[in-house]
């Protein structure tokens, strides 16, 4: 029997818009994941140390206030340093201020190390389906 995949959720940096991550956490639980909910205003370092202790398979971050890029400066380097190179990284929300091309945003965050980047108002089912697919591809589901 395979271990139940563990995922971490939370809003990154100083963002306090907690509804999205709560809805997502609930949906993940219903889909059978073990969810470690860190809630709001989680520092990048906390995501890393919690992923280490819980042997997480994926980190799903939310951010609505447009400052995610600033909050996540150096995150990819830090998580690789912490031995978490194979942990899936997803992010979703209003990731940059103002109107911008979603493809540009995706490119920017993929360059920061994220495997998947979601626009605001993406359905939770979409993200969960992607997560299952990605975990299967890694032999973790």
């Amino acid at each position: 029997m395979k271990r139940v995949p563990t995922v971490i959720t939370g809003t990154v940096g100083m963002d306090a818009h907690v509804i999205g991550t709560k809805v997502l956490s609930r949906a993940l639980q219903d889909a059978g994941f073990k969810v470690v909910e860190l809630g709001m205003q989680v520092t990048p370092e906390e995501f890393i140390s919690v992923a280490q202790e819980t042997r997480a398979d994926a980190i799903l971050m939310s951010s609505l206030y447009g400052m995610a890029e600033l909050d996540l400066k150096g995150f990819d380097e830090k998580r690789k340093e912490a031995g978490l190179g194979d942990v899936l990284l997803y992010i979703g929300g209003n990731l940059v201020i103002g109107r911008s091309d979603p493809r540009e945003v995706e490119k920017k965050f993929k360059a920061l190390g994220f495997d998947r980047v979601y626009a605001p108002e993406t359905d939770t089912e979409v993200g969960i389906a992607d997560l299952k697919k990605d975990l299967k591809a890694r032999g973790k589901l």
Binding site: G13, V36, L38, Q41, E53, T54, R55, M67
Partner: protein, 455 residues
């Protein structure tokens, strides 16, 4: 058994006995004589009991019923290991301190050969291995357990308090080992959850069953009933009882006990420590309601050098350094100048120890403005502060020393008590209250109420 209870503390230097009349709730006699643990612990004990006996008749059954705590022979020395420093390593550390241990080493991540050698040379009474939440990381604790499987008996007692999923594999690792390996609940079963009580219980149990035997303290059982806990644990038990009350007596409410000594300064806080304002964000591992810290560099006898370093930035009394040099030689204060020096150092110890124990507020500048983030416990609302330990009890100005715990306007981000009432453990009975609280909590609390002197 008569109404007399004998409560004993085997210290590293002194063996102390308090005789309590339970019916009158009264301390009828006390004694303090040199400890003889290096030789035969019962000698010092007999001497102390003789002093009590001369002051107030005690019977053999009284002695047979006596309970003791001990910090003799180095106290309960522990090494803690975990995975991430601010998570499971910290949780392991808090668990050991809460059980009254002296943490002589704290390690994180996978241990190296060199670190294992270091730990062996520290020869702790107990090695506490943590790491991983339940169902979380397994690698680190299994690696660390394996690193000790081939070592000698310098590390003889091991407590496993990490990811429970690893227990079976660790059992396999220690299958042929002579080590005494105990498995207990994870000190951090989930992120943000600290569960130290089961681990505390195992530590105390090991202390009672094995460690006091190995240290020769158990020989006292030829005379008395038992040695049931390390002394700091007895003080913490007393603090819990006094804060939480018993039956009709609601107790003192949230409180702090500060206990400076020759080598270390202990601080116990029994308080929730939640943020005072809703807009303050809590961060880090939640701290236990009953929290103990030990400052290993703050002692009036063995750590004078460190203290004088701390003094460097302050205005000192005249002749400060020459007086401190005399303290180094073991001299006790006699002249007014020496008293002033002694007082200043004691205040400093209390101030710094309280500062480190208390929660702190950090201002974080964010894209959406200033935010306040709290680490640790907010103790500003604590209502009582109890002082114990030689430097306070024997001081001419105990209140002045205790005022070192107070919150300071010029340093508003350190969450120390603002307006507590101060009490002095004048008769040095806190440990006795803690011991007695195990069987007679009501009487123990009444005793504390009677003998803790408001100052």
């Amino acid at each position: 058994m008569s109404d007399i209870r004998l409560l004993i503390d085997f210290g590293s230097t002194f063996t102390k006995v308090v005789a309590v009349d339970l019916k009158k709730v009264e301390v009828v006699a006390t004694a303090s004589l040199p400890s003889t643990v290096d030789n035969d612990i019962t000698l010092g004990l007999e001497n102390a009991l003789k002093v009590i006996s001369d002051k107030h008749g005690i019977t053999d059954p009284d002695k047979k019923g006596a309970l003791a705590c001990s910090s003799a022979a180095g106290g309960l020395r522990m090494v803690c290991t975990g995975f991430v420093p601010e998570l499971t390593s910290k949780a392991a550390n808090l668990a050991a301190l809460g059980a009254g241990a002296k943490v002589v080493g704290c390690y994180s991540y996978k241990l190296t050969q060199q670190e294992v050698k270091e730990i062996e040379s520290l020869a702790p009474d107990i090695l506490l291995l943590a790491g991983g939440t339940d169902g979380g990381d397994e690698e680190v604790i299994i690696h660390n357990a394996r690193m000790f499987s081939g070592t000698g008996q310098a590390v003889a007692n091991v407590i496993i308090a990490g990811n429970k999923t690893t227990h079976d594999e660790i059992r396999g690792i220690y299958k042929d080992s002579r080590k005494n390996v105990i498995y207990t609940k994870n000190v951090m079963p989930e992120i943000g959850v600290l569960d130290v009580v089961p681990c505390n219980r195992e530590i105390r149990d090991l202390f009672m069953k094995n460690i006091i035997v190995a240290k020769g303290i158990a020989r006292a059982k030829a005379i008395i009933k038992d040695v049931i806990m390390p002394t700091p644990s007895a003080v913490l038990e007393a603090a819990k009882l006094i804060a939480g009350g018993c039956g009709e007596d609601a107790g003192f409410g949230e409180l702090v006990v500060i206990d400076p000594g020759g080598a270390t300064t202990d601080v116990h806080s029994i308080a929730k420590g939640a943020p005072a304002r809703p807009d303050i964000i809590m961060t880090g591992l939640p701290e236990p309601y009953e929290k103990r810290t030990v400052e290993g560099d703050l002692g009036l006898k063995y750590n004078l050098d460190r203290l004088t370093e701390l003094v460097a930035t302050r205005e000192t009394p005249t002749d400060f350094s020459s007086i401190v040099a005399k303290f180094h030689e073991g001299k006790l204060p006699e002249t007014p100048e020496e008293y002033a020096c002694h007082l200043m150092l004691s205040c400093l110890m209390v101030e710094v120890a309280m500062e480190r124990h208390s929660g702190k507020i950090e201002v974080v500048y964010t894209p959406t403005g200033e935010k306040l983030v709290q680490h640790g416990k907010d103790l500003t609302g604590v209502r009582s502060v109890i002082g114990t330990g030689g430097p306070i009890i024997f001081s001419k100005e105990p209140r002045k020393i205790l005022e070192g715990v107070l919150y300071r306007e010029e340093n508003p981000f350190i969450l120390k008590p603002k307006k507590p009432r101060f009490y002095l453990d004048e008769r040095y009975i806190l440990y006795a209250v803690g011991l007695l609280s195990q069987s007679e909590p009501g009487k123990a609390l009444a005793l504390a109420r009677k003998y803790l002197k408001p100052i």
